[in-house]
Symmetry: C2
Subunit: 288 residues, 2 copies
């Protein structure tokens, strides 16, 4: 399906590198796989994905209804620094899809109840139902990102989590989940400009907290933590994709296009009726 | 905000009549308040609402963040016979709104756990969080609709529920909820055409169940049950709106326009920063 559109699948172009990762060497302004000219035609290219996304989402939903035990589920995980565009992708990429087929979950600092449980407890609870597309705004990866940078648990504890998360994700894939793990790769300079814009516009003040600057002050430690994530949890069954995120128009297009490619790759077909169609037509005609 | 667009607010035009309701006298093909010519320009008129809906939803969301205790919440309830367009409104009207600000809940036949609780238990659990727009696909009203028509509980029990629901909704309104209760008013002939279309198209078979014809056979009993709902729960604090639903393009526009009107009526303003803006600008500049 995507072969007509993209010489190489976007998933190949965006796949995080194997082995040692040098984030500084990955261009935050790149536009791999983008089929148009640039910003000027980006809305059109993104919106052109909507009809395919609609069909593919409906196929997934129908599969979930017809086959709830064995149904496919899709889970897109969005991770990135503040202002890298998790919300923008929700609005402009996920917003292309029928909202009935999407379940968005934003993970904040754990509540008191969540802290009493294993860190994967709240993740398990938020997994999408059969036939649904789940979108996580932050995820289990916060437990090796902010938790590591802020030393919220001892190193001996977070060190174990990379393997735990891999095992958890393998179990999900074996249950029929497709995971689409996206790291939104933004430069430190771009973040400064976006935070400045929030501070300059009174209508955006509600999006800002002084904690955003606290986190920014630890930029290098966060990059180190993201590097470890990409090096240690970039499995073949649940790969990481690095979306260059300095150009919002590309980031939004890429998220939509990657979702489209992954949905198409499920090769779903319409469920066959589990009732006698002619009999029901006759009943409808008789009922009038 | 709506005064420029509509001579009479759409909420006035669609408000269910006071007193005795004669559903047969309400035109299912009417287009009250529609500002355009008809089907040909309906997509454009509906999509023209998107920017206002986006701003208003963001204001509501910001209010929820800034003021979680006293925040406004909006709850749209969609009720109607099978194929009347609850799903179509989700896709084409609610789909205009940022999906991060919307919480959709579809109520099915109660689960075993839900049946062990009061019928409002599952409703309470699904209410939108502060700052969110909740959309119910079916609702507490099923407990005086299918429950009444199918005699799932004794009459003495469902008879009490109209007053209970009114009391429940009054409590919600006092807590800051705005309720938008929409009855999708479709003719029996139109339903036949839509069921036929589902039976004729193998890609739509998954949407059909033989139970749809069973319910259709009880059309008059359902109309009687809807009439009782409109007569007994059409309160000033939580009014019913009757959306003529035979023309899909009108129904979808009307749902979006009604939501827009109700959001605008909240008269929300952007939250004022709870931090020192200049101090944070200086921190950002120093951080570089």
């Amino acid at each position: 399906m995507t072969a007509d559109v993209l010489p190489d699948p976007l998933s190949t172009l965006l796949r995080a590198p194997a082995g040692a990762v040098n984030l500084a060497a990955l261009d935050t302004r790149a536009t791999p796989g983008y089929p148009g000219e640039g910003k000027a035609d980006a809305d059109a290219h993104r919106e052109a994905l909507a009809p395919q996304l609609a069909d593919l989402q409906e196929l997934l939903f129908a599969d979930g209804r017809a086959n709830p035990e064995g149904a496919k589920r899709v889970l897109m995980i969005l991770q990135g620094m503040d202002t890298s565009g998790k919300g923008g992708i929700m609005r402009h990429a996920i917003g292309l899809v029928d909202p009935q087929g999407v379940h968005i979950k934003a993970f904040k600092a754990p509540t008191a109840e969540e802290r009493r449980h294993h860190y994967l407890w709240r993740i398990e609870k938020a997994l999408p139902e059969p036939g649904m597309i789940g979108i996580f705004d932050r995820s289990q990866y916060e437990d090796v990102l902010v938790v590591r940078v802020e030393s919220l648990v001892p190193k001996a504890e977070w060190e174990k989590r990379y393997d735990e998360i891999n095992a958890f994700e393998l179990k999900l894939v074996e249950q029929g989940y497709t995971l689409i793990k996206c790291y939104l790769h933004m430069s430190k300079e771009e973040q400064a400009a976006r935070l400045q814009a929030r501070l300059d516009d009174p209508h955006k003040h509600w999006k800002f907290t002084p904690g955003d600057i606290d986190a920014r002050a630890k930029w290098d430690a966060y990059m180190e933590a993201y590097t470890a994530v990409l090096e240690r949890t970039n499995t073949d069954y649940a790969p990481w994709y690095v979306l260059p995120a300095d150009r919002k128009w590309y980031r939004n297009w890429a998220a939509a296009a990657l979702l489209r490619e992954k949905l198409a790759g499920l090769n779903l077909t319409w469920p066959v009726a589990d009732f006698d169609v002619d009999e029901q037509k006759a009943r409808l005609a008789a009922e009038g």
